[in-house]
Symmetry: C2
Subunit: 343 residues, 2 copies
């Protein structure tokens, strides 16, 4: 009732008429406690509404009781999309089963970066999930050498983390491109994402692979930046450089939306003149004109699996990296009725 002084373990022990250590054992359900005492303690906990003090426990055990989900990126707006939120939902769904809290760090400013670095050095969390690093983020290397367990969400370019879960970007891109081939297109272009992000390069590779297999030309390429405007500009350039193209695989839906607009302004019909496939299956994709065929990735699962992997890691086991399958979602921006699934 009195919120002034919190209920401590001593209170519980006193109330239950046992020693503090006995009470402690019960609470951490350790062995060597008689049933009688155990029940007494449990009752006292109930009566008093005892909740252990996390800081004290952390100090004593050298375990913080929390893991962090860290996103390292230059622009905070990267987090504003639905992607990040879904990851959190996935992560939470598994953390909920444990006693771990979730801390979120958006390491965007210099200050945020520093804090993340310190975290990695000084074990102020029991584990870290690290996401969406651009290029050669120094944090990535730091994380690999860190004393605290780290799992990566996605893979940075030029760097294969030990533990990661990633969407099958390459397979998804292959799926998209193969689909374009399957519906009879032969002059297939691509608008890539940023080439300093893992997803950007992987999707580009998938495109190349698919066309190589078919013996088709993979030279109709313009590099984009994952933004809507960038997609528009890239599409314009593509049209200028390769006026004969009959399809384009765009490495993100945002860019595809920009591309669709430019295509329309150029008087090209979709999918009549040019078929378009995007990537991500964002909510808007079903409402564009025409609705966008795209590759859907299981974002929530990504969060889920990252958290699970982190748990196995903290429990001392050694997980293997995970690649999550993507799938083709067919809409009106392409025509055929094939369906398929990567991985």
């Amino acid at each position: 009732m009195n919120p002034r002084r919190p209920v401590t373990l001593d209170d519980v022990a006193r109330r239950a008429g046992v020693s503090r250590s006995a009470a402690s054992r019960v609470i951490n359900n350790a062995p060597h406690v008689s049933k009688a005492k155990r029940d007494a303690v449990l009752r006292a906990v109930q009566d008093l509404g005892y909740v252990p003090n996390a800081s004290a426990r952390a100090l004593a055990t050298n375990q913080v009781g929390a893991v962090v989900l860290a996103l390292s990126a230059e622009d905070p707006q990267v987090f504003a999309g639905p992607f990040f939120a879904e990851v959190i939902v996935g992560v939470t769904s598994v953390l909920e089963e444990t006693d771990l809290e979730l801390m979120v760090m958006l390491a965007t400013s210099a200050r945020g970066q520093t804090r993340l670095e310190q975290l990695l050095r000084t074990r102020q969390a029991d584990g870290v999930m690290l996401m969406s690093m651009h290029g050669d983020d120094p944090i990535a290397r730091l994380a690999e050498q860190s004393d605290v367990p780290v799992v990566f969400g996605g893979r940075p370019v030029n760097f294969e983390p030990r533990y990661y879960v990633d969407a099958d970007n390459r397979g998804g891109a292959r799926l998209a491109t193969e689909h374009l081939v399957a519906i009879g297109r032969r002059r297939i272009a691509t608008i890539t994402g940023r080439m300093d992000e893992g997803a950007g390069t992987a999707r580009y590779k998938g495109y190349q692979e698919a066309l190589a297999v078919e013996g088709l030309d993979a030279g109709r390429v313009v590099h984009g930046d994952f933004t809507e405007d960038g997609g528009g500009r890239a599409m314009a350039e593509l049209l200028a450089r390769h006026p004969d193209l009959d399809a384009v695989f765009v490495a993100s839906d945002q860019m595809a939306i920009g591309a669709l607009r430019v295509l329309k302004d150029a008087g090209k019909s979709v999918p009549g003149d040019v078929a378009v496939v995007g990537f991500n299956d964002i909510a808007t994709a079903r409402h564009t004109a025409p609705p966008l065929t795209t590759i859907s990735q299981p974002i929530q699962s990504l969060g889920h699996e990252m958290a699970r992997m982190l748990l196995t890691l903290t429990s001392g086991e050694t997980p293997s990296p995970l690649i999550l399958p993507t799938r083709l979602v067919q809409r009106a921006s392409t025509t055929s009725t094939v369906t398929a699934c990567s991985a």
Copy 2:
């Protein structure tokens, strides 16, 4: 270099040749330390790469060093949208300036609820930001009585929290409705949101107010549930019950999308036969057919202001509640060219 034993304050003190308390004072830049010692300590901190142990500090000061952003809702999918992520970006932008960590709790399961309750009772965080409660969430009352500072994001129905920041839902709805009047519509219907959510009731009130002022009939009402399908069903019902309607204010863009589809299937032209205004300005709104006029709310600011309010609260001051203005974003689903701003 040796990650085995972390660097402690004692190490720093020894290295700097001062007492532990002196070192402590320097680190918390408290007074009563000579410049010479201060510099020595600072150097030692640098050399050793000392970072204070958060748990120990928390235990000693009875301050956790972290605040939590808690979302209480039945369905975890509620968090999956971009809304939540933007709030986090806003929150982080102010927390970044402090030494506080951000914990995120999705109190969706019974377990999550319990943890949130315990948090409120046992002060395991220095403050709580509580969002999006449905109806009479018991957590809301609990939070008001809690010992730990709580600020609400949005207001639950039937309950005015002491400290909150909310978007001007009512004003936004009024804005939307007035816009419809301004473009010459007279038989204006509405599809409301869930009436057990604050945003749902507030937007409905705004609609009623606007029409009352104009002396127009506010009886063309169907209650929706904030989902796309629900919006479609509601629109169908509206059309059946009030075939004469010439405009509809829909309490969310998701529902508006469903409504647009039904309108199209019914052969109604938008905005020719029926003008439509949504609410929220989600990313998809600019890509619907026709693009959706809607009310935009400053979600990131909402997070920002919640965090700021929490800080003033923890610093012992008494903030006043905040209502953030919304604004009309005009697109092709209405015709006029008026612009305006609530609040």
